[in-house]
Amino acid sequence: MSATGSDPLAVGPVGSEGTGEHAAARPAGSEGTGGNAAGAAGSSDPLVIAGVELGSRLILGTGGFPRMEALAGAIEASGTEMVTVALRRIDPRAHHSLTDVLDRAGVRVLPNTAGCFTARDAVVTARLAREAFATDWVKLEVIGDERTLLPDAPELLAAAEQLVAEGFVVLPYTTDDPVLARRLEDIGCAAVMPLGSPIGSGMGIRNPYNIRLIVEAAGVPVVLDAGVGTTSDAALAMELGCDAVLCASAISRAQDPIAMACAIRAGVEGGRLAARAGRIPHRLHAEASTTFEGMLELGVEPAAH
């Protein structure tokens, strides 16, 4: 029995995404181990979404940063190459520094449809975002409930279908439902972005088994979106075989956002390395790492139990 076969959370060596094959679809050890640590964490192991290579597997949400300086610092510290932004009515009193900060950082902008409760609103918001930011990419959010901010599955599917038909590169924020993730992929989404737990909750990954199931079945990149509270959550997502992590509040609302950006970056990189390395299975009993062969006979009777 292979190690990964017996352990629902174990990931075999992971290759680059976009090939339609994920960890579990590939026998352990099938991939060359040419990459070293630096290579696996760096540019030789890019995240590929819709044919675009990104050197970082951490996508940063810009929401929640108290000051632009903190955002700029966190972008740099995180190493991210893509950040999310939202669209709201123009506020004549607001400073227009956000786009300046993002321009200076040289990062790709991923507009979201945050706050939309219907497919119709999300589609119009995505069209506005395309005009505002000159990008076809959209992080599609269609929310069904104010308290939990959980996605509304039927509206999400309807919006995704419409936007794919209009040529958008759709990255849907979805529940951790493997069937819904598959439906989103089937209608042409460029990635799927399941939540670990509700937005901003910092509750980590509540159902790692579902994330595994999504990863196992996905032919597009899987981005763990929402719920990350700290480094270990991001590392776990990557260890489960996710291709990337999207993180906002855990960094922006940390006491020291820049330090947390460093930490979560390290978690994403470490988790990716571990996923590629292929972890040992969980075992109920110990398995000695030291052989019993050649044990000394010291003539001491075992103590009675």
Binding site: G64, I90, L98, E131
Partner: protein, 67 residues
Amino acid sequence: MIRVNGRELDGRDGATIAELLEELGAAGDGRGVAVAVDGEVVPRGEWGSHAVPAGARVEAVGAVQGG
């Protein structure tokens, strides 16, 4: 009367989108800005010529921080 970002504006019927944006303080190259009239996006190339008819609802949006 037209409605711009939820605010009713009298005497501005027929104003162009470029004029309305300037009043909102969003003049310039319009980077990171987009406009919809009655739910239809108006490309920036048409902002100077697109006159907003009476009764229309204009939504002018820009980038804000968001996850």
